[in-house]
């Protein structure tokens, strides 16, 4: 089944009147293509049509429901088979369910409605399975190194090389870098390009979870371990078993939990809070922090033994301001992404807009660039993005003059333009306010270094 093809249903029923009744009822859904067959042999012969569901009567002229079910399952183990029967014996129903029947429906006045609901649920399951398969493939593609991390700068190429080494081995990885440099993206890329890509990737942000909850979050708990622990719960380490756990902001972990984390990493096993059963772990650990872990160790904020345990392969992500032309590659990527999401034609980045983008130092790194480009696409006229549409809003306002790399002349022009706008282009008034000569302003206007709004 794909998204557009009909959902194929076989009904195998030897009572022609009853079979027609069920066929007609299911055919009321225009998405269903229903075929009525009268024998088990017919059903097996027509399997090449690849039905999505087969509904069989338990007693057929040439076979019984359990035998036909077994035959169908031997040909296609995942084919959902619904058995409809006049038999009300529980043992018969149990046996059929044990053999793999998706549902067992007794023939009575509710049969057609039960069948309708069952087929609807099976179709939803099939759709979900298909979507899961497609999304899994998409995720694998999305996190391929080339598609996921954009850039050609030497700084990034060095990072790529390290990521490749990380993906091809099982070594722990520690990622450092300023906020917004893409630490989690890199962690996911390593996971989805490793042999563990079919296994779970579990993220825990140490800074986002209150310290008193973090232990049970990481290691799980047994029922009654503490007030509110009404049921057993597995922790993130167990959830990630066989795959990768990404411990974001690991430097924010308190010293008490650091000791427990160290034990888990050393012993490669976990004991749930309030329990005594040891659960073996096979988990790759990737950590990240925007802090300098070595400094944290010096300041006794991070255990030295844990530092060496998690350090593994260190990958330091370069800040965007050190990635040169990558800024424009990323900006173009974000413009295209914005256009695709909003189903519009990709606007063109004007040269002066590119220049403006290149002269900013991005304290928020790639995350900030994306926000700036998204806003510019919204503010632009749809066809192109101009320098005027590019607005920087650094989180710390006083950084504007320190982060914008402009000449004194450019800053002067910005200030004069701001005052001209404020005082309705009254050159004399602006000259007085700024204590400069009128001719200075007129000269700038003449040279097109500023313009009247």
């Amino acid at each position: 089944m794909n998204a557009k093809s009909p959902f194929k249903i076989f009904i195998v029923e030897d009572d022609p009147w009853y079979g027609q009744l069920l066929k007609y009822h299911l055919s009321l859904n225009p998405d269903y293509e229903v075929s009525l067959l009268t024998t088990g042999k017919d059903c097996l012969d027509q399997l090449s049509q690849k039905p999505d569901v087969v509904c069989i009567d338990y007693n057929l002229p040439d076979t019984t429901g359990d035998k036909l079910l077994t035959n169908l399952k031997s040909v296609c183990a995942t084919l959902p088979v619904v058995v409809i029967s006049g038999q009300e014996e529980i043992a018969v129903a149990l046996n059929l369910l044990k053999l793999g029947a998706a549902e067992y429906i007794v023939k009575d006045e509710h049969t057609k409605d039960m069948l309708w609901n069952t087929v609807r649920q099976l179709r939803e399951n099939a759709t979900l399975r298909r979507e899961l398969t497609e999304l899994t493939a998409l995720v694998e593609t999305k996190f391929s190194f080339e598609k996921n991390i954009i850039g050609e700068s030497p700084a990034l190429k060095k990072t790529f090389a390290l990521m490749q080494k990380a993906a091809s081995t099982l070594i722990n990885v520690s990622i450092t870098g300023e906020t917004g440099t893409g630490k989690e993206v890199v962690a996911k890329s390593i996971h989805f390009n490793s042999d563990r890509k079919k296994k779970p990737f579990v993220t825990v942000n140490m800074a986002a979870i209150p310290a008193d909850l973090l232990e049970s979050e990481l290691f799980g708990h047994e029922r009654g371990a503490f007030t509110g622990a009404v049921a057993q719960r597995i922790g993130k380490f167990e959830e990630a078993n066989g795959g990768t756990i990404f411990l974001d902001e690991v430097a924010d972990l308190d010293l008490n939990l650091q000791a427990k984390l160290l034990r888990v990493l050393q012993e490669r096993e976990v004991v749930r809070v309030g329990g005594n059963q040891r659960v073996k772990l096979d988990v790759r650990v990737i950590t990240a922090t925007h802090k300098h872990l070595g400094e944290q160790v010096k300041q006794k904020q991070f255990r030295e033994d844990l530092y060496y345990r998690v350090l593994g392969l260190p990958i330091e992500l370069p800040p965007l301001r050190e990635r040169g032309q990558d800024i424009l590659l990323l900006a173009q990527h974000f413009v295209n992404e914005f256009a695709a999401i909003n189903k519009i034609k990709s606007p063109q980045l004007r040269p002066e807009a590119k220049e403006k983008l290149m002269h900013y130092n991005y304290p928020g790194n790639v995350r900030e660039l994306k926000a700036v480009v998204d806003l510019a696409c919204v503010m632009g006229n749809g066809a192109e993005v101009t320098a005027h549409d590019i607005c920087f809003s650094p989180a710390q306002a006083d950084q504007e003059f320190t982060v914008l790399e402009k000449t004194m002349q450019q800053y002067s022009c910005d200030i004069i333009a701001f005052y001209l706008k404020k005082y309705n282009n009254n050159v004399v008034l602006v000259a007085n306010k700024l204590d400069i000569g009128k001719s200075t302003i007129y000269n700038l206007l003449k040279r097109n270094e500023i313009s009247l709004s």
Partner: protein
């Protein structure tokens, strides 16, 4: 069995009407199908009785049972279940014949009533 003893319909079309979703053509098709099936079933039972083929008698009963239940033909409810489970080790030929005749009469009568119901519905 005397047809005059059934002045009221001895069946219930509620399930079929619900399933038809208001489609009279489907109703008529199902009525026609029942009439053919009833005739064929009665004939098949008589052939099976003539050949002492109890397995065939059971299978024929089992095959038509869902239809009779869906139409709520209560008069044959027990008979059809008895025929579905008759024990071939005991000689029940006479009893089977009596029951098959009784069921046959009811089915014939139902078919007649359904035909007239179908005609009035389409008129």
């Amino acid at each position: 069995m005397n047809h005059e003893t059934h002045p009221e319909p001895c069946f219930d079309l509620t399930l079929m009407q619900q399933a038809s979703n208001g489609n009279p053509a489907f109703m008529q098709r199902m009525i026609n199908l029942f009439c053919v099936q009833a005739t064929e079933t009665i004939a098949a039972w008589h052939t099976a009785i003539a050949g002492n083929d109890y397995d065939a008698i059971r299978k024929i009963a089992h095959k038509i049972k869902p239809t009779l239940d869906a139409l709520c033909i209560a008069e044959v409810h027990n008979d059809i279940r008895w025929l579905e489970t008759i024990d071939s080790r005991i000689n029940l030929r006479h009893d089977v014949l009596v029951v098959v005749n009784r069921v046959g009469h009811v089915l014939t009568h139902v078919a007649e009533q359904l035909q007239s119901t179908g005609q009035s519905a389409t008129n």
